[in-house]
């Protein structure tokens, strides 16, 4: 006799149900697309891929032979023109040229095209000369000026114990003092002048070096960064540390996702229009089976496209493994959006917002792959590294992908919570739907603790985003802002679901219950927060901003046991304050939230002060 309630039979049953729904979703969705739409979509992806490949690899030179230059074959400039892809060498007698180069002078037609051709000619000559100099056996003679380029982590330039931005530092060469005056540096002599200029520009950002070690990107197991990492060479050979080619190629991974989520969102919302999905709900399958079955084809499509793009542009398994969680986050956010949206019009707004936000969130940090460890908040940074042939450590991978993956799973969990008759077909504003989704995951007091813990990926992402956004501001401004933002994000994360539960009459609005829920929420958050200890693996807390965001809450602070337990007390107290407010309705909750944020900010400031 078989036991149908065992784990294996249940797993098999769920898998079969998911497979059936997925198969149905594929055939049904295929029926809703006309051939023209499919062809247009395919062409759009091809064009996007082609442009990316062309731009990154130089495979498509749209400016080849753009300007015609009349130059004699025995002219010293002939090789420079001939080697340039932009310039097309022609005989001097050719009347159809923008530029004529003779032994002694250059003749240019007085037109914008002529002037542009002249600029291109100058660049071509400069590049040619650079190349020639590089071939010289005596490089010291060829390049008498050498620039040493070292990337320094901005926050680490603040020495421990010093006040930030007091503006009266001396800017001494040992870099031990803070300065806000732009530093000073000797400018006598070429070499010194370069070095002084570098120091001055660093100091101009409001801080001076505290140590000698370069920070650059987090330790990626390589030697001294890559591409635009620490380098030395002639001034002309120094280029900005942006891995442009890899970035463009990495962006190609994001393009198809924006198409896929449109179809996916429509499919989910379609179930909610006219109660169409009601009959699936009454079938012998769970909401989880339905959601998984409907999502699987789109996820499979994304994975397939990711693998294809990776193969096309030379990405490895690391690229695929880093991009798939991004795809999952795109899908999960779209799923939740489609579960909350009241119409296709609202869904369009949701999907566009998701596209813009997630594309920005993943792409922009990757630009700074070689500059700061903050870039690792985006898994696309891993792709850039992979494409650049740089090793990625397990810690980097976990730090970059972990929060994204967890956030995606939690979003699916929340959305599935409202994938039921009572919520799917009601037309409520998005904020109320969000509260419904939170409430749907609360069945008993301990669920409050679980939800607080599950909020950690979002808290982590939000805090990293704050750091990334505020990174460009002066340190003396960013630290208080980061501390405030951290308090806001964390207090919301600990209290919104408690408020939702009270609003939905899940619990009695009593003092005892609110104390219990507050304590549980604070405890759950504290436990979940420990998972952010992964930041230790990539050295983010070594950044001043990283410390501001994570250290005050206890992560990474192992110096004192008190500081380890203090966050638990903080979270429990502030969560209880908001829980008490939530028992009395929205206005009181808002006031209590402000109070909790205030307590949290004061706490953070105290911790930062005590840490020096």
């Amino acid at each position: 006799m078989t036991d149908d309630t065992g784990l294996k039979p249940r797993l098999v049953a769920h898998t079969r149900a998911i497979a059936r729904i997925a198969r149905w979703e594929v055939t049904r969705s295929a029926g809703t697309l006309d051939r023209r739409t499919i062809i247009l979509g395919f062409i759009a992806v091809l064009v996007a891929g082609g442009v990316a490949l062309g731009a990154a690899g130089g495979g498509v030179a749209i400016d080849k032979d753009l300007y015609r230059v009349g130059v004699a074959s025995d002219s010293p400039y002939y090789d420079a023109v001939e080697e340039s892809t932009v310039l097309d060498p022609r005989p001097v007698s050719d009347p159809n040229v923008e530029l004529i180069v003779s032994e002694t002078h250059v003749s240019v037609t007085d037109t914008p095209t002529g002037m542009a051709a002249y600029e291109a000619f100058r660049d071509a000559v400069q590049t040619y000369n650079e190349r020639q100099m590089l071939r010289e056996s005596n490089q010291t003679a060829a390049f008498p000026v050498v620039v040493n380029l070292q990337y320094r982590e901005r926050g680490a330039l603040v020495p421990p114990g010093s006040r930030v931005g007091d503006g009266d530092g001396d800017g001494s060469a040992d870099g031990a003092a803070a300065t806000g005056d732009g530093g000073s540096g000797s400018s006598d002599g070429d070499t010194d002048g370069q070095a002084g200029g570098t120091a001055g520009s660093s100091a101009a950002s409001g801080a001076a070096a505290a140590d000698d070690g370069p920070i650059g990107a987090p330790d990626v197991g390589g030697a001294g960064g890559f591409l635009g990492g620490d380098t030395s060479g002639s001034p002309a050979s120094i280029s900005p540390p942006f891995p442009f080619a890899s970035l463009v190629l990495a962006f190609a991974f994001l393009v198809p996702m924006n198409f896929v989520i449109q179809a996916y969102g429509s499919s989910i919302l379609n179930e909610r229009v006219n109660r169409r999905g009601e009959l699936l709900l009454v079938a012998p399958v769970t909401p989880g089976d339905i959601v998984a079955g409907k999502t699987a084809p789109y996820l499979a499509g994304m994975v397939g496209l990711t693998v294809a793009i990776a193969l096309a542009i030379g990405g490895g398994p690391v690229s695929v493994a880093a991009v798939v969680p991004i795809g999952l986050l795109f899908l999960s956010a779209t799923f939740v959006g489609a579960m909350f949206a009241r119409s296709f019009k609202e869904l369009t707004f949701v999907t566009v917002t998701i596209s813009v936000f997630l594309t920005t969130y993943t792409f922009v940090p990757a630009i700074f792959t070689n500059v700061t460890p903050i870039a690792l908040i985006s898994p696309l940074t891993l792709v850039v590294r992979d494409l650049s042939g740089t090793a990625v450590s397990l810690g980097d991978f976990a730090f970059s992908v972990g929060p994204i993956l967890l956030a995606a799973l939690v979003l699916f969990l929340l959305g599935t919570g409202v994938y039921r008759e009572e919520d799917m077909f009601t037309q409520r504003p998005v904020p109320l739907k969000f509260l419904d989704a939170l409430d749907s995951r609360i069945s008993r007091p301990r669920s409050v603790a679980t939800l607080s813990a599950l909020s950690i990926p979002f808290v982590f992402i939000a805090e990293l985003l704050v750091i990334a956004v505020l990174y460009v501001l002066p340190v003396d401004l960013t630290i208080p802002l980061v501390l405030l933002a951290v308090a806001v994000v964390e207090e919301l994360a600990k209290s919104l679901h408690v408020y939702a539960a009270f609003e939905k009459a899940r619990f009695a609005r009593t003092l005892r219950v609110s104390l219990l829920l507050g304590a549980l929420s604070g405890f759950g958050f504290f436990v979940g927060e420990k998972f952010t200890a992964i930041v230790q693996l990539v050295g983010l807390p070594s950044l001043t901003l990283g410390q501001a965001a994570f250290a005050p809450s206890g992560i990474g602070v192992v110096a004192a046991t008190g500081l380890l337990l203090a966050p638990l007390v903080l979270h429990a107290v502030t969560a209880t304050v908001t829980a008490l407010g939530a028992t009395r309705g929205r206005s009181t909750y808002a006031l209590a939230l402000l109070g909790a944020i205030g307590i949290h900010v004061v706490y953070n400031l105290q911790v930062v002060s005590s840490l020096g």
């Binding site: 079969r16 149900a17 059936r20 729904i21 149905w24 055939t27 049904r28 029926g31 809703t32 006219n274 109660r275 169409r276 999905g277 009601e278 009959l279 699936l280 709900l281 009454v282 079938a283 012998p284 399958v285 769970t286 039921r420 008759e421 009572e422 009601t426 009459a505």
Partner: protein
């Protein structure tokens, strides 16, 4: 087959169903009747496991309504026919047969059989291109592909033309004859009266009458007698006056003793009673009477509850 005890459902502060108790026996057609907002649909959805009760219990086919095994043996037809309009009747039914773990060959056989039975010709036409009646037939067919023991139909003939309505009601009778248990709701009381073995009447979320139709009639209805006489009679303290009707005279009375008094009076006047007819109240009459008597508080007054 179904046992319901103190079943309640509230949407926020709004009580949609305020404590239902009833049971449904195997093989019967059980009707839930009432006006819009009475709580019929909410009750059916709680039985189908779609809506979670706020309080009370329901046992359907021996299971909690949310158990997948119960759903496997249930055929549910919602009030609307929310079909996937890009599918054809054939592909739609096969998909659901597959979802209910019906073996492929058996699923195909059942699909064709049920489409034959409902006389649905256009099996490969897009559902979106079909008439409302045809869509309803497809929806009914879908409720049968898993060969369920229990069918829950919410307003199965709602919005259909009289001809299709007749087909649907006849089909429900056939299902009963096959031994299926059918629970269905309607606000058209004629439909209920014509197919149901037992009914509950709901109003404002609560059951206000229950039983077989004769039982309800006996308990809540007022039977009247039309007594036809060959002579005209004036009103006395024992009977009312007769009214001329054709070449006879008629008096309407509520009690058999009044009938007897008229017969005696007619004979005393040299005439006789030509005919006695019984007028039984329709379910609609009873419902209207009960609705008028019911307290005006609670369920139907606003809120987001379903009928």
């Amino acid at each position: 087959m179904i046992t319901v005890e103190n079943l309640r459902k509230a949407y926020g502060d709004f009580p949609a169903v305020v404590g239902s108790d009833f049971s449904v026996e195997s093989g019967e057609v059980f009707g839930i009747v009432g006006p819009n907002g009475a709580g019929k649909t909410t009750t059916l959805k709680m039985l189908a496991g779609l809506v979670e009760p706020t309080d009370g219990t329901a046992s359907v086919l021996g299971f909690d309504p949310e158990e997948p095994e119960m759903r496997r043996r249930l055929g549910f037809l919602p009030e609307e026919s929310p079909l996937y309009e890009d599918m054809t009747p054939r592909s739609y039914l096969r998909f659901f047969a597959d979802l209910y773990d019906v073996p492929r060959e058996e699923g195909t056989k059942r699909t064709e059989a049920v489409l034959d039975r409902l006389d649905l010709e256009y099996r490969d036409r897009r559902l979106g291109d079909m008439s409302k009646g045809m869509k309803r037939k497809v929806a009914i067919a879908r409720s049968l592909v898993n060969d369920p023991d229990l069918l829950i139909y919410d307003e199965p003939a709602s919005g259909l033309d009289p001809l299709t309505t007749n087909v649907v009601l006849e089909f429900v009778r056939e299902l009963r004859d096959e031994g299926k248990t059918v629970v269905f709701s309607a606000h058209n009381l004629f439909h209920v009266e014509s197919v149901c073995d037992r009914v509950v009447i709901m109003n404002r979320g609560e059951i206000i009458a229950r039983g077989t139709i004769p039982e309800i009639r006996a308990e809540h209805g007022e039977t009247t007698y039309r007594v036809y006489t060959t002579v005209s009679l004036s009103e006395t303290e024992h009977h009312p006056a007769t009214e001329p009707e054709g070449d006879q005279h008629v008096a309407v009375v509520d009690e058999m003793s009044d009938v007897e008094a008229i017969r005696e009076a007619a004979e005393a006047a040299g005439g006789s009673v030509a005919d006695i007819r019984t007028d039984e109240p329709s379910l609609e009459d009873i419902f209207l009477q009960l609705a008028r008597e019911a307290p005006t508080t609670s369920a139907a007054e606003g809120g987001r509850g379903q009928s």
